[in-house]
Subunit: 303 residues, 2 copies
Amino acid sequence: MSVLAVGSIAFDSVKTPFGSAREVLGGSAVYFSLAASYFTSVNLVGVIGEDFQESHLQVLRERAIDLQGLETAPGKTFRWSGVYSYDMNERETLETHLNVFADFRPKIPESYRDCRYLFLGNIDPDLQWDILQQVRKPELISLDTMNYWIETKRDSLLRALSAAHLLTLNDGEARQLSEEVNLVKAARKILDLGPRILIIKRGEYGALMFTDSTVFSAPGYPLEVVYDPTGAGDSFAGGLCGYLANLDNVCDSTLRQAIIFGSTMASFCVEAFSVQRLRNLTYDEILERYRQFRRLSHFDDVP
Amino acid sequence: MSVLAVGSIAFDSVKTPFGSAREVLGGSAVYFSLAASYFTSVNLVGVIGEDFQESHLQVLRERAIDLQGLETAPGKTFRWSGVYSYDMNERETLETHLNVFADFRPKIPESYRDCRYLFLGNIDPDLQWDILQQVRKPELISLDTMNYWIETKRDSLLRALSAAHLLTLNDGEARQLSEEVNLVKAARKILDLGPRILIIKRGEYGALMFTDSTVFSAPGYPLEVVYDPTGAGDSFAGGLCGYLANLDNVCDSTLRQAIIFGSTMASFCVEAFSVQRLRNLTYDEILERYRQFRRLSHFDDVP
């Protein structure tokens, strides 16, 4: 099965302790699509400005991402700039210029409306809801969001959440959304809001999955150098949803594997600026890192 | 094999968001010994004041801890008081009264000097070194320390470390000791200082083990209520060393299991104030939680 991704397409300017990059390709839909493209075919819906160049499109086309849903609007492409602290766990947004993204009203092409796997990137929850009205009966709706929407559009977010199956958040956002400090209690409250699967992303500490019946803890991959954490969360979602869509089977066992594939793609993503590392991977490299995650977390049972 | 534990014996006064406890039994040697006692026999070396009561000794005796190395000195037992922040990851020390601990010069009884498994709790690294001169040829010397000693007695600590096999630290301490932000690089630097096994404790995020040839990531156990984190690190070390001493076999596979047993004991420790939860566990409860750790972190290989 293919996966449909809706989200931002951006030019990011990023500064980290290891260097900087100016106006490089980014955005949730871009990171997601590239990561997912190693597992299944990807349909992308997003908006670009007139400054988006053929070379940028080429990055997506090289990974065979379907761009039928890509809209070009008059004006400039969305721009974001930020700087990361030395420990890479905190980032400060310097500037956000929505540009063409400000008036983005996603239109799902007719041929995408029967999609069984849908990823709603971190955009205005009213737009997420609007997209949900355009698709027919997805098997798995994954939704991402952020502190800004929790603060400013809680009701809209709760409406979108009521229709979603899988939610990805970081720990701070999970605490903020649930108004609960303890993560286990926070998870239970969030599962009551609609999604049947909650995945809490914890950066270098890995990820936690909560469902009604199980908890899964995925390790973080201990990397010697993290060049640029931008896009890690969307690459995680891309590996996760791409793997599930390809199998077309969502159960406890495949979700756990999918989270490790998501973690694998995130670990590659942060090894270079922008989407560089996600352009030329081989499936063997991905499998090898998946197996490293196994070695990293394996321990024997006791007799 | 038995394990020899040297460390503090204290009365702790603790305040957490869930309650408080005044002058309750604590200290690194106490938490360690109780946790280790579920796996092997424990010999304890420490000092108490004249205010230490029969009921406190009883807690240790009930777990068959050998108290031949327990010294009673004129004056009061070591006292510590602290308060935990709402997220339980930070604590502030309010008061430390060393009392009899100020002049503590550990004397290892002759019958303990052939110990094969030794735990040096978080005490002055000069005392740790002094203890190392008294024992003959331990198979595994585990050492714990803290930011205070890294700051104020770095040279003494480095001397003790040069003779230790296994070091436990938290992430902040690992970064401080190595003067390196990235944990993988920090670990490599620390392994060059002497220990062949480094375990980085990350509280609710679990633990990481580094050796020359392997990395192991142990999950944190997602607990719904953490009443009191005091002693979690020493309980972790107790489960870890107790399990290894009982097997008398230190290899990659047993170290990984030992870390999970350590995590198991730490997860019990924080469920109640003081040592309450470590007094009356059954080995079946411990095994059951070990298996929960397996379910928590298991994922299948890919075909």
